[in-house]
Symmetry: C2
Subunit: 351 residues, 2 copies
């Protein structure tokens, strides 16, 4: 059968703990579907940074480019500033491989209760399509008059027509396969250069999709709506920063920040895509074997789906749901006393 | 007794409906406390814009400067672009009068249930201290290569040392009068120029307040925390954009987007401060007499407090709580059938 080359970057903290378990699950799913995953592990991490001064080697991007997919745990460790750990690994990979879509499905999984009173799984089903390559996350800017009274910093946001068009088009295409609804996060009343441009392109593209219901909502009101009336939301398309905030919020609303996967996707397939959990490296519980591996396993299911192994991806999903539904094997965050490995093995067994 | 000159700008939509009721309440509270409010009404609004081409006259700011306080309803109307209505009135007032604090108390009022399952009023008590004069809301930026394939926009954020220091210091001073906890919203892992600067100043100032518990949290995680674990939050200090998003979210979490007041405060007293409801002009229900006036009344209480009329402000608060607690006079959003005027009159009667 086919063999896919997968670069695994467990990273730091619980990233390491959960990646091991997710790999067990993915290998088993692969075996039952007649393909295999050929893993290569990279020790790129904050630990590497503290030893060598860089998160990954100089030719890191080039090395990764030879893989069919990238499986990332989590990066970040106390003492290493975030802007080093992230701009030294996560963000360069997203950009070098034009992973311009950050896809974050949000679902209320069995065995989890929503933080919201009286909301059902259906009302909470949505997907955040986050722009992942430009926008507010920009290296342009700097500090002036350092140490003086009139010191200030500038931070530039950059939105290109190409960048905005492609993410919005992706959202509309996705909506066609779902409920046919897209909501765009804006803030054109406050950010008077970037967001009116975003809105203009949104409505240009909306006109190409007469069958998709297109609406926009200011990001402040949209955050409120996710809490007060999430039921009319399905595909939410947002800039890099807004998508970051809204997807954490959406995950929290479903009670599942520990269960939310994320795909950094290059839709053309020209470069490898990268799959990760939304949660961070959680150094406080790292290495204790108590981290919940579900988000990382579901990130693995997204990876399989992206490779075209849809049936295997669905099986992984179903197995996770079965284990959560039974509720006998639960990590501490889910209210149980099982270990990361026990939950991983339960999913393997359910496959 | 003292007489305070108050500029009233009802604005558009339900801004007009709720301001009338709030004035009734404030006048009554003033009378029982031996002072008076001398109102002057301004028709500055989107309606004025459609007639005259501007939201306020050229000397609008100068006119307002002669008042002790400004009481704003809401601005915005379909057909008038948001960036016109807001940058033609609300935002210039905030800036011209150095109203650098946007103070947004968040409380679960009686008769309201939180959108969150099983959270008590105490767990949800917080205040958002939002920077109100600079940051992400900036006029600097523009559009390049219009109509071409390589078109892009730039949007600059500007953070000054003066601007960041004063808002953070305000938050620490406020924390001293409350629970002694401050949480700063950051995103230094993504916004690598502006937010590390914000963080640096935050910790500089924190060191001046050894008795205040200071922590920071990335805005994405903080949004999630407001939903999953709001109980350890009290004073939340945030940039203009983050404060905008977090305060709507916090209001939604308490179920009270229609009950949330907002103060645009110039703490030195050099210029007038402005008080408003967080909600917008809601054109769909304007003029029907069904809008909930509570947010505007509570904004009025903040105005009284700002004028130094603390006892009167407390009375207004108590009267609102009493009416909400009784629950016999409720506007449709609260589940009742009362009118805006009936709710206003009930609060007057409770005074
Ligand atoms: C209307 C808009 C410009 C305004 C803001 O973002 O400041 C509003 O959302 C608010 O929070 O007062
Ligand atoms: C760690 C951080 C830079 C990152 C982001 O904001 O993109 C994270 O929050 C995420 O959502 O993947």
């Amino acid at each position: 059968g086919t063999s896919y080359r997968i670069a695994s970057i467990p990273g730091d903290g619980i990233g390491v703990d959960v990646t091991v378990e997710a790999r067990k699950v993915l290998d088993r799913a692969a075996a039952s579907h007649g393909f295999s995953l050929s893993w290569k592990e990279f020790d790129w991490s904050c630990e590497r940074y503290t030893k060598t001064g860089s998160m990954m080697p100089d030719d890191g991007i080039e090395q990764l480019s030879r893989f069919d997919g990238i499986f990332l745990g989590a990066v970040g460790f106390p003492g290493v500033p975030d802007h080093v750990s992230l701009w030294g690994l996560l963000i360069p990979v997203r950009r070098a491989f034009t992973q311009y879509v950050n896809l974050r499905p949000v679902r209320l999984l069995p065995g989890t209760t929503s933080a919201l009173a009286g909301r059902s799984a259906e009302e909470l089903e949505m997907v955040i399509v986050r722009e992942n390559s430009e926008g507010e996350y920009s290296e342009i800017g700097g500090r002036h008059n350092r140490g003086l009274e009139n010191e200030f910093v500038l931070q530039e946001s950059v939105f290109t027509r190409v960048g905005v068009e492609r993410i919005i088009r992706y959202a509309f295409e996705l909506a066609k396969t779902r409920t046919g609804r897209v909501c765009s996060a804006t803030k054109s009343n406050g950010l008077i250069h970037s967001m009116p441009f975003w809105d203009e392109i949104f409505f240009e593209i909306a006109s190409e999709y007469p069958d998709v219901h297109a609406e926009q909502c200011h990001v402040d009101a949209l955050a409120a709506r996710m809490v007060q009336a999430p039921d009319r939301l399905d595909v939410v398309v947002a800039s890099n920063l807004f998508g970051d905030i809204l997807s954490d919020l959406a995950a929290a609303v479903t009670g599942g920040l520990g269960m939310a996967p994320s795909g950094n996707i290059n839709p053309t397939g020209e470069f490898p895509s990268m799959f990760e959990a939304v949660h961070g490296s959680a150094p406080d519980i790292a290495g204790q074997g108590i981290a919940n591996p579900v988000a990382q396993i579901l990130a693995g299911a997204m990876l399989l789906d992206h490779l075209g192994e849809t049936a295997a991806a669905q099986d992984v999903h179903a197995a996770v749901e079965k284990v959560l539904e039974e509720g006998t094997v639960q990590t501490p965050d889910l209210g149980g006393e099982s270990t990361t490995a026990e939950l991983g093995s339960a999913v393997v067994a359910a496959l």
